[in-house]
């Protein structure tokens, strides 16, 4: 779910404008009663306004659309663009306690906050944790939905297919707090997992207080939660494959494994490529809420990532360091943006798939 949002829009805008033009061209010819339809900007004729000045007429016709947009735009400005403008406190020495008041008087300190972060002893461990955690998630979590979709695609018993889908989608809807609560219960000293290990004579392990287990617990519980839901998109792609390809392959004597490898897999590769690009874009910032919940003083050496560090020094601390935390957050956003754009660029150079 998280992956899709930032990607599709880019594709949507470019391709939809293209289709829009085509569509306009086709609708214009039968409705050539009004001269207004000839120019692309005014495809929808409105008899009452044809005579007046075009700009005014266009506004008269569409002012209600702008009125509808007013509230959403207000929200966008307040909750997205004002915070973006506020990012400047990363370059200021801002200590005030009341909102943005006092921002103007805060002294410019340039890149001092960034310097401080890069030179702090925390920098490398945090960067390493962030990268390892996300790459591990990607490597473990990316291929499994594909495998699941391919396997489900060859299930002929509908009830079985429906059951697998129903059950595997369910964890996606459980809240992060509850998931982490379940992890803590199942992995506790007397929980089921340690009971299971006990059968083999292994002494109970305090999993959550051991940094060496943190990443695996995080990653595999995430796979458990998301694999079913992530496979939906691949199932859709598989359903879009031309059935005549399969029919021809069957006539040629191909077995199911061969069809899976030579028809289905190439068929969903473009979708996989796009999702991979999107995943790369969030390489520094996924799973923050879950990590914050799983984090405790004993596993912090493995669980402190950029996002949790921003929260810990910026909001959770007794002496919140707004400017410093903002600088770290900005560093992450910029790297994330560069990653996304460059991966997209590389993908466009070497393959057809790209977002923008």
């Amino acid at each position: 779910m998280q992956i899709l949002p930032s990607g599709t829009p880019g594709a949507t805008t470019t391709s939809s404008t293209a289709t829009a033009t085509i569509h306009r061209a086709t609708t214009a010819s039968p409705a050539a009663t009004s001269p207004a339809t000839a120019t692309p900007a005014r495809s929808l004729p409105d008899i009452s306004t044809v005579k007046r000045s075009p700009r005014l007429a266009s506004f008269r016709r569409t002012w209600q659309l702008y009125a509808m947009l007013a509230l959403p735009m207000l929200w966008l400005v307040i909750f997205q663009y004002i915070p973006m403008w506020g990012v400047q406190i990363a370059f200021r020495d801002y200590k005030a306690r009341g909102g943005f008041a006092g921002l103007w008087s805060a002294e410019w300190i340039g890149l001092d906050n960034f310097d401080r972060f890069f030179n702090s002893y925390n920098f490398w461990p945090i960067l390493q944790n962030t990268l390892v955690l996300n790459v591990y998630s990607l490597v473990a979590g990316f291929p499994l939905p594909i495998v699941l979709a391919l396997a489900l695609n060859y299930v002929t018993r509908i009830w079985f297919k429906k059951t697998v889908q129903m059950v595997s989608y369910a964890p996606h809807f459980i809240s992060t707090v509850v998931i982490v609560g379940m992890i803590l219960q199942l992995l506790s000293l007397n929980g089921i997992f340690n009971q299971f290990l006990g059968i083999f004579g292994i002494d109970p392990i305090a999993f959550m207080s051991k940094p060496e287990y943190f990443k695996s617990i995080y990653v595999w519980s995430g796979v458990w939660q998301s694999v079913g839901f992530s496979c939906i998109i691949y199932l859709a792609a598989l359903a879009g494959i031309d059935p005549s390809l399969h029919e021809a392959a069957i006539l040629d004597g191909a077995n199911k494994l061969q069809r899976m490898r030579d028809i289905d897999l190439p068929g969903i590769l473009p979708v996989a490529a796009i999702l991979l690009i999107l995943n790369m874009g969030t390489l520094l910032s996924s799973g923050f809420e879950k990590i914050i919940l799983m984090q405790n003083p004993l596993n912090i050496s493995a669980s402190e990532v950029i996002d949790t560090y921003v929260y810990n020094v910026g909001l959770a601390s007794q002496v919140p360091q707004f400017s410093y935390a903002t600088a770290i957050g900005l560093f992450k956003s910029v790297i994330g943006l560069i990653l996304l754009l460059s991966v997209n660029w590389i993908a466009r150079r070497f393959r057809a798939a790209s977002l923008f």
């Binding site: 829009a20 809240s175 069957i250």
Partner: protein, 298 residues
Amino acid sequence: MNQRGIKDRGGDRIFNIVNYTILLLFLLAVAYPLIYVVSASLSDPRAVISGKMWLWPVDITFEGYKAVFRNPKIVTGFRNSLFYTVSGTIISVILTLLAAYPLSRRDLKGRGIIMGLFLFTMLFNGGLIPTYLTVRSLGIINTPFAMILPAALSVYQVIITRTFFQTTIPDELLEAAHLDGSSDFRFVRDNVIPLSMPIIAVNALLYAVGQWNSFFNALIYLTNQSLFPLQLILREILIQNQMDMTNFGDVAQQMQRQNLQDLLKYALIVVASLPVLIIYPFVQKHFVRGVMIGSLKG
């Protein structure tokens, strides 16, 4: 997709056996933790700890659930969450429609710029601290508004809704309405909304589940206990209690308390997930549709 009529050859039979086996194992792996938690919430905690309970409930007890509903904090949290979810969803759905419909209209001047303003927020945003400071300067910290307003709009959902409008509301309908002298407001009310029930359902569900499950905004914006949503109470009980179970005291009594606490936790996990999981089978197809529309291009 699959050819029922065609007889499977030898190799395909093996393929099928392997395929079904893998899927069955996968099914069990996903389902087991869920079944275990439900069973543990209904079983005698001693049976759970000793390992006697490993699949179905043993020595059924409802003490855990009783404890959950006796806890005033949980009940208040539940009520708060219900309020935030219902009001937040209504506001979000309205805002999404208001944003998505004009953006789906080709005759909207400046559509590209406005769309760009929305899309840019998906690539880059102010980040945690500036957003927090903005909310604080609005003076809505520690009010229900802090739970509803910052998360009121999801740009992703605006986009899928816009795509839906573009693909399902025919231009001819709008032209006809304009010829009849209908304004855009009236067109949206009388034509667009009745035709858009599927996407409104998708939006309402996504927003509702998001709001019900969210805890982080509450964590940073609320300090007043009486406003806490359920997820924050859950965090206190399920996650933070983890640390302070080693109270000194009588060993037997402590064991007893520890047992009840574990039972309560399992019951709480079930109760907290129940609202979403109960409606889930009925609305599953809407969620799937949401993903599908989202993946649609143009």
